[in-house]
């Protein structure tokens, strides 16, 4: 069974600091997605990573994918308060299945 784990579950950080959120998954997949969710809101797509070694950056966020290690990272550079949200990774379906699995989510709070 495919499992997706994120670390940490909760993160409180000061503005201007850097930090990385980790997403580990348990089976072969080469498709990984990062989403952001604000309280009471729906999910907003941030990044789509479709191959080993893929790296994408948007503003202060950078995502990478290592399919051999079954690991994706979401790096935050010089955090600002507006980045406070819950971040989810989602793994695309392993070969032979059609099930997308979301991680547990990382609740990020950036303190001014």
């Amino acid at each position: 069974e495919l499992k997706v784990e994120q670390n940490p579950l909760f993160l409180s950080m000061q503005e201007g600091k850097n930090y990385t959120i980790y997403c580990n998954y348990s089976t072969t997949s080469d498709r990984l997605y990062w989403y952001r969710q604000d309280p009471g809101k729906s999910l907003e797509s941030l990044f789509v990573l479709l191959s080993n070694g893929a790296v994408k950056q948007e503003g202060r966020l950078m995502a990478s994918l290592d399919t051999k290690a079954r690991l994706s990272t979401l790096h935050i550079t010089a955090a600002v308060h507006d980045l406070s949200a819950t971040y989810f990774c989602a793994v695309g379906p392993p070969s032979g299945t059609y099930k997308y699995i979301f991680g547990t989510g990382t609740r990020l709070k950036v303190l001014a």
Binding site: V4, R31, Y33, Y35, K41, S42, L43, E44, S45, V48, L50, F88, A90, G92, P93, T97, Y98, K99, Y100, I101, F102, G103, T104, G105
Partner: protein, 113 residues
């Protein structure tokens, strides 16, 4: 361009009553998903459609839940009868195909009392 539209946004019903949710995906998106999200957790897939065909409904509790996507566009998700444990946010999402990123609707927050 309009995003994924869901209705209603909120629904409160008594247990054992039926309830239905509606979803209009982004135009041209062949893949449609229904997810359930409990408070503080990630979304869990209930069912995925490719056009009008349900290609993965293994997580759908078929004794009380049903879904349809007529003509491969709009979709409805129904619960009958609702139970207290069904209280959650029901999210609809769509994508161009199974590899593309999914775009989510605002969700329907269901409260069963």
């Amino acid at each position: 361009e309009a995003g994924v539209v869901q209705s209603p946004r909120y629904k409160i019903i008594e247990k054992k009553q039926p309830v239905a949710f509606w979803c209009n995906p982004i135009s041209g998106h062949n893949t449609l998903y229904w997810y359930l999200q409990n408070l503080g957790q990630g979304p869990e897939l209930l069912i995925r459609y490719e056009n009008e065909e349900a290609v993965d409904d293994s997580q759908l509790p078929k004794d009380r839940f049903s879904a349809e996507r007529l003509k491969g566009v709009d979709s409805t998700l129904k619960i009958q009868p609702a139970e207290l444990g069904d209280s959650a946010v029901y999210l609809c999402a769509s994508s161009l195909d199974m590899d593309a990123e999914a775009f989510f609707g605002q969700g329907t927050r269901l409260t069963v009392v």
